[in-house]
């Protein structure tokens, strides 16, 4: 059964990420990094989660709170200028952090001394006429690191290059809220409900594709691409709904599912079990979406496809069968949703998942670790 551990950390957590496994590690990761926001001095902090909750130990001392040993322990921290807007582990010991001051900083974790140090800083990658403005998102497939910001700019930087190797000014007329990289394609979402794809191989700074929400221009806050089928992209926005896009199809989301009451701040596919998805929201909820339940039989799908009056739609529909996510709101796919933080009331800003463990950070200045989630 899933168990939940809370740790109050005296700062609002804006981003949280598990460390990827080490070179020889067989166990799943027990280290994560958190970044704060809205504090007088913000910090990037590295936490270690003791491996097994030892319930027998702590209870011996009278009056002591039992089983404190299972709570995450602060390993080291480093001050960070501006809010921590995004965090990314480049590898085992390199952490990339985006700042609301427009910088991107590379931190190195030294295992021997257990400290974090600044490796490299790109100043004012995002700016309005030279005045820094928030960098909202990061994505990396080494050697390329892509950043987006409130100035609607896309930067491509590389480690050991001081200046960006490519900058697309006015990639968006509004704020870019999140970014993802699919080979040479940069996928962004903005605050007017548009999802754009830029191709880095092309010299043009125009997006190759623009996808948009039908109807209202709901700001999109986050996106994640399917780990196995990168043409499937999940996004969440201001209305709390979950939008699924098929980048091979035209213009509009393939499925829309009503979800959270308020803004969805982060959505993530499970990296190794992509039938599971996690989302968190301003309304304080953290949801686990599961489509691994038996899918509709292909036979049932085939009949209407053959007689459909719009032959052009038919290939798309048959392709869609390849992922249960794209069928999610057709009623042919069972989606199970469970809430992982039933008692929380303050905004959950970020989450990350590794194996069967989820970690999330909230505006209630708490970090929750939920172990042993049911993943089939």
């Amino acid at each position: 059964m899933a168990e939940c551990i809370a740790e109050f950390v005296s700062e609002k957590v804006n981003k949280i990420r598990w460390r990827p496994q080490g070179p020889q590690a067989l166990q799943q990761s027990d280290v994560f990094v958190s970044g704060s926001w809205d504090n007088e001095e913000n910090r990037v902090r590295l936490w270690h989660l003791p491996n097994t909750p030892a319930k027998t130990e702590g209870a011996s001392a009278k009056g002591q709170l039992p089983a404190r040993s299972a709570e995450p322990r602060l390993v080291c921290e480093v001050p960070h200028r501006g809010d921590v807007k995004d965090l990314k582990f480049l590898d085992y010991d390199k952490i990339l952090a985006a700042s609301s001051a427009g910088n991107v900083t590379l931190y190195k974790h030294h295992h021997n001394s257990q400290t974090l140090s600044v490796g490299q800083t790109w100043e004012s990658l995002h700016h309005h006429n030279g005045h820094g403005c928030p960098c909202t998102g990061l994505a990396a497939t080494l050697p390329d690191i892509v950043t987006v910001g409130e100035d609607g700019r896309i930067n491509v930087v590389r480690l050991d290059h001081r200046a960006p190797i490519r900058t697309i000014d006015n990639a968006d007329s509004c704020t870019l809220n999140a970014v993802s990289l699919k080979a040479f394609e940069v996928i962004t979402v903005n605050s007017t409900g548009q999802l754009k794809v830029f191709d880095l191989r092309r010299p043009s700074s125009e997006p190759t594709r623009i996808f948009l929400l039908s109807g209202d221009r709901i700001p999109l806050h986050c996106l994640d691409k399917h780990p196995g089928q990168p043409h499937i992209v999940a996004t969440g926005g201001q209305d709390g709904s979950l939008y699924m896009w098929d980048l091979r199809q035209e213009r509009h989301p393939v499925s829309v599912m009503d979800a959270h009451a308020w803004d969805m701040w982060e959505v993530l596919f499970h990296p190794t079990h992509p039938d599971h998805l996690f989302s968190c929201s301003q309304d304080g909820s953290l949801w686990h979406w599961d489509v691994s339940m038996a899918t509709a039989t292909p036979l049932a799908m085939a009949t209407p496809t053959a007689s459909t009056p719009f032959p052009s739609r038919a290939p798309a529909a048959s392709q869609a069968q390849s992922s249960p996510w794209l069928l999610a709101n057709t009623g042919k796919q069972k989606v199970e949703v469970s809430s992982l933080l039933p008692d929380n009331i303050m905004s959950v800003n970020s989450l990350d998942i590794v194996g069967r463990n989820v970690v999330c950070g909230t505006d209630a200045e708490a970090i929750y670790v939920i172990r042993n989630i049911n993943i089939r």
């Binding site: 926001w37 009056g63 909202t136 409130e150 997006p207 708490a366």
Partner: protein
């Protein structure tokens, strides 16, 4: 207003606190502005400000930030307490108050315990921080906090016994014993000292420990300790065995064993008579220490006076005394037993503030408890949460104060204000203000409007708080602030998205004009991704609709849909959607369509275009005539050269229209 009221009521007789700002310029006079919450920006200023009189300040003047009541909020451990109890507070507000009193109580006790466990955890962390502090100053600071929260815990648990976990019949002694045991464990210290020495029974602390155990009703521990005395002969029935028997047989009243009060009373009398008998028969004459124990058991008043150094405080003495003199005392009768104990410790005059608070609690004077606590602890967290819990228990009568609303709300407002003054805790503060029915909303509106918005994400979060509470004006003004900021950064698209979000028609019109003038000056649109996908949002303002349609015309033109482009253009001109000053541009845009190889505009359409052209020429003439050189609008005032260009344009269009008309008549005629 509220601040004045507070001074009158709470600080009676106390001196106001004076803060000195080391700035020589301030002797000129002081001027101050409110920041967010408990924050003032203070600077030197002449009073009253006079025109032409310089202040005489040579160096650059300073602005001082003055804050109060926020120090503790900055302590990381206290921040944990604040956040953790926030959750408890909210669920306490939401738990169903309509259930009957008997059903509610266990729930309320649970909430109270919950608060206490958080206080406990906080206290332990503070202690740890005090011990591991690197320098004396921090250690001292943490030491102070430890002291404060120790008092908080003591007061809270007493209030819980008296006001929250009230048992039927009002017999409180068992809980009071627990209270004393939990907070004052010197006995264990003494016992530890004694037992770790080689000869426990000769150690100074040995008998102190035994007495204290007995005084606190911890008879089992006392018996264990007594058994260490080697003077005791296990095989024979002696005075040790006798006292052991008395201790063992002492009845305790507990509610859940099912015995009635009368039954217990009878047992108790029986047991105490036995103690008195053994005492008067002189069983313990030979052993002074055992005699003292027996005197305690008999409830001999004098023995408590003798042992007052062990009980340390009047309230510990009170509990011990009640245990042996009046074990079935009711909560409401506690106050009648207090005086003797206080007198034993030099009377009322020497009472410390903490004593006064506990005394007030025992006297069931809740307002006094809260008043004294807030001045002693300087801590809004405690009084606000305690007052709220007591209010939920129905113990705090909602009598209104002469300032503002009732006491609970007053304290919550102050607590929330101290949170709002912190740069990061505004969300928690806002949540507390939600539960202040009378003034919370007004406070919140003021605070939310003044929050600094460093990033869009924060703006969205503040907006969310506004939308949650249906504060349209505030959300409107936040969108405006963000929009204008984007505009200043030359991000028209972003500005427009904020205008659309708040449905701000006038701002949208203004921005649409900016887009159009940008087009006129640069010959192209920016933010195409937004303009092309405006959809239904463009109906927000007429100008925005025009902008959207005009952009659509360009797109149609680019896509070589000339017929529809022409229709759209004509529509824009004839239904007067286009602003007049833009007509010339529109007609110029028509030129390539007029000159194209096939005839696009019909005769009827050409006539309408000509009509528009005449309109413009007329208005040009009349505006030149009417305003001439006196026109103060710089845009209208064209130079000679520009006027020449305009005139040439008009002539060109006229020519094109005429030619198109001719071609249209021909082609329409030939069709027939």
């Amino acid at each position: 207003m509220a601040a004045n009221g507070m001074e009158e009521d709470f600080d009676d007789g106390e001196q106001p606190e004076i803060t000195t700002i080391p700035d020589p310029h301030l002797r000129l006079g002081i001027s101050a502005r409110w920041g967010t919450g408990n924050q003032l920006a203070v600077h030197a200023a002449l009073h009253p400000p006079q025109e032409g009189v310089t202040s005489g300040i040579q160096e650059s003047p300073l602005v001082h930030e003055v804050r109060w009541g926020t120090q503790e909020v900055n302590n990381p451990i206290i921040r944990k307490l604040i956040n953790e109890t926030h959750g408890t507070f909210v669920s306490l507000q939401h738990h169903q108050p309509d259930t009957t009193t008997t059903n509610r109580k266990p729930q309320l006790v649970k909430f109270s315990r919950n608060y206490r466990s958080v206080i406990r955890a906080c206290l332990m962390q503070l202690k740890q921080a005090e011990e591991s502090a690197r320098d004396d100053a921090t250690a001292e600071e943490y030491g102070m906090q430890v002291e404060i929260y120790r008092m908080v815990e003591l007061i809270w648990s007493l209030c819980e016994i008296l006001f929250v976990e009230t048992l039927p019949g009002g017999v409180v002694l068992a809980q009071l014993l627990d209270w004393v045991k939990w907070h004052f464990n010197e006995a264990d210290g003494y016992a530890n000292e004694a037992t770790t020495s080689d000869t426990p029974h000769l150690h100074d602390s040995y008998w102190s420990a035994v007495y204290l155990y007995v005084l606190q009703g911890r008879n089992d521990e006392a018996r264990k300790l007594l058994s260490l005395d080697p003077n005791r002969n296990m095989d024979v029935y002696d005075e040790y065995a006798s006292i052991d028997e008395l201790l063992r047989k002492m009845p305790f009243f507990t509610l859940y064993t099912g015995q009635s009060l009368a039954e217990f009373d009878m047992k108790w009398r029986h047991w105490q008579d036995e103690c008195r008998r053994r005492y008067s028969e002189g069983e313990f004459n030979t052993n002074k220490n055992l005699e003292t124990i027996c005197r305690i058991l008999c409830g001999d008043e004098d023995v408590f006076l003798d042992l007052k150094d062990l009980t340390e405080t009047w309230y510990q003495m009170l509990v011990s005394k009640l245990l042996y003199c009046n074990p079935t005392v009711k909560a409401f009768d506690l106050q009648y037993h207090v005086k003797a104990c206080i007198d034993a410790y030099d009377g009322h005059a020497t009472l410390q503030p903490l004593d006064n608070i506990l005394l007030a609690a025992i006297e069931f004077d809740l307002h006094q408890v809260i008043k004294e606590s807030s001045s002693l602890l300087g801590n809004w967290w405690f009084v606000a949460h305690l007052a709220d819990l007591l209010f939920q228990c129905g113990q705090l009568e909602s009598h209104s104060l002469n300032y503002g609303s009732n006491l609970r709300e007053f304290l919550l407002l102050d607590y929330a204000s101290s949170l709002m003054s912190h740069p990061s805790l505004w969300q928690v503060g806002a949540s507390y203000l939600d539960y202040c029915p009378e003034f919370g909303r007004y406070y919140l509106e003021f605070y939310l409007e003044r929050l600094p918005l460093q990033t869009e994400r924060k703006a969205l979060k503040v907006l969310r708080e506004c939308e949650k509470r249906d504060m349209k004006d505030i959300s409107h003004s936040i969108c405006k602030v963000m929009g204008v900021r984007a505009l200043r950064n030359e991000r028209l698209g972003s500005a427009l998205s904020w205008a659309l979000r708040s449905k701000d028609a006038s701002f949208a019109t203004f921005l649409a004009d900016r887009f159009l003038s940008e087009y006129s000056s640069k010959g192209g649109f920016s933010s195409l991704d937004l303009l092309d996908n405006l959809g239904t949002a463009m109906v927000l303002s007429d100008r925005l609709t025009f902008l959207g349609k005009y952009r659509e015309f360009h797109r149609l033109h680019e896509e070589r849909e000339f017929k529809s482009a022409a229709n759209l253009l004509l529509q824009l001109l004839t239904n007067r959607m286009a602003p007049k000053k833009f007509w010339l541009t529109l007609l110029t845009d028509a030129l390539p369509l007029l000159e194209s190889e096939e005839v696009i505009f019909s005769t009827q359409q050409t006539y309408e275009l000509m009509n528009c052209l005449e309109d413009i020429s007329l208005s040009f003439r009349s505006s030149a005539y009417l305003h001439g050189d006196t026109a103060d609008d710089a845009q209208l005032k064209l130079t000679k050269g520009q006027q020449e260009v305009e005139k040439q344009k008009l002539d060109l269009i006229r020519l094109a229209l005429a030619r198109n008309l001719a071609r249209a008549i021909l082609s329409e005629g030939s069709l027939e």
